[in-house]
Symmetry: C2
Subunit: 254 residues, 2 copies
Amino acid sequence: MISIVLIGTGNIATHLFDTFLQYDMLNVLQVVGRQKETLNYFSQKTDTCLLTETITTADVYIIAVSDDAITEVSSKLKDVNGLVVHTSGSVPMLALANCKNIGVYYPLQTFSKGKKVNFRTIPICIEAENDENLKSLSFLAETISDKVYHISTEQRRHLHLAAVFVNNFTNYMYTIGNEICDEHQVPFDILRPLIKETSDKIATLAPKEAQTGPARRNDVATMQRHLDQINGKNKKQIYKILSESIQEKYGKKL
Amino acid sequence: MISIVLIGTGNIATHLFDTFLQYDMLNVLQVVGRQKETLNYFSQKTDTCLLTETITTADVYIIAVSDDAITEVSSKLKDVNGLVVHTSGSVPMLALANCKNIGVYYPLQTFSKGKKVNFRTIPICIEAENDENLKSLSFLAETISDKVYHISTEQRRHLHLAAVFVNNFTNYMYTIGNEICDEHQVPFDILRPLIKETSDKIATLAPKEAQTGPARRNDVATMQRHLDQINGKNKKQIYKILSESIQEKYGKKL
C-alpha cells in the first residue's frame, strides 16, 4: 500500500483524488490547500489541512498546483523523506531540487470540472532520479492507468508543446469554424460529425496520411475564394499561413 | 421509389452507392464513369456506362465528381427532365444552370477509401429551386440520413470554409504535434487520448468555452519558452499567430 499526501484542490487534484479513492492499495492520508473553502469537498472523505499547517508523513507527496506555485510549495517539503512529485507538463523535475526524493507524475489529458474521466485510458508520464523512486511511481501510475510512460524532463517539455498544438490550437480551429457558422446563420451542429470523424481517423491513421483539403491538393482557386470570403484580419492570416505550410509540406511550389 | 443515375466513381460516389443499395425505395439504375476500369466495382451490382455513352432516364442524376468537372458533366444532362444535383460543398447550385431541374445534395463528411461510414449520422445539406424538387431531395436525403438541412449556396460556401478549419487545419495541428514528437523520440500515441478528448468535449460544449492553454490564460512565460524550443520557421509562426489570436479573442492586451 502507498500512502499519499495530495497538495492542491484544482481540477487535476480533484480527479486524482476521486480516482485514488477507488483503489485499496492507494491511501490518501491528507489533502492540503491554500484556502479552507476549497478543502470542503475533500474533508468529507479524508483529513485535510492548510499549507501553513502540519503536513502529515507519507510515502508520496503529489504537488498538483499551478506551475508557478510548484517551487514555493516544494520548499515546505524539503525535510520530508517521502517522494515529492509534481504533475506539470512544462516544469522540470529539478524545480523540486530542494527536496530529498523527487519525481514527476504527469497525466497527459485535458480535465474539465465536473466531467468524469476514466484514468485507465489516460497516459501518465513519470520521471524520477533513481530506480527505487521510479518503481514507486510506476506502481502509483500503473494502479490507475494502463498507459504509463517513462519520459524525461527534456521529452516532456516537447510533449507539452505538441499537446498545445493538438489540444489548444485544435480547439481554436473549432472556435473559428463556429464563428464562421454564426456569422452566416448556419448551425454549428452540422460540423460536429465532421469534427468527430477527423479525430477518429487519427486513432488508426498517421495525421500526415489523413491530410485532405484545398491546400493539400494545391487547389489555388478554392483557396483564393476562401481568402476573399473570410471576415477579419486574424482569420485571413491564419488561413493563409496554415495553407502555405501545408502546401510546402506536401511539396507544392508556392 | 426514386430512380437514380450516379455519375462519378470516387470516394463519395462509392459511399453513396453502397448506402443507396441498402434501401428498397432507392433504385440506382446506372453508374456513369470516365474510364471502364473505375466502373468494375459498380458493374457487379448495377448497369454502368461511360460518360460518352447513353445515360439512362431517371428521377435524379447525382453528379459526384471533382469540383472542376461538374459543369462539363452537367452539359451532358441538359436535355433530361429529371433533377440534376451535385455533391460539392463549394460549387454554387447555378453551376448546373444549363439543366432544367437543378439542386445540391452535399453530404458534409470526410470520406476515406475502404472505411465504412454510417450515413445516418452524416449531415446532408440540400438545396433546390422549387418546392417539388426540394421535396424529392428531402426524401432522398432523409431516407439515408437523420440529419438533413436546407442550406443555400451562400450558406454552403461558408460552411465549406468552416469545414476547412475544423477538419483540414485541425488535422494539420495533429501533424505538427506528431512532428514534434518524432523530433524528440516521444511516441505520438501518448497524445491520442488527448486528441480524442479534445473533440469529444465539443459534442456538448461550445468550443469558445472549452479553450484552455497558455494563450488562453495569457501565460507569457510559457509561450516564450515554447517559441524558443520550436524548430522551424513555419511552426514558430503558426504558434505565434494562433496564440496572439487567442489572446486577442479572450481580451488580453498584447
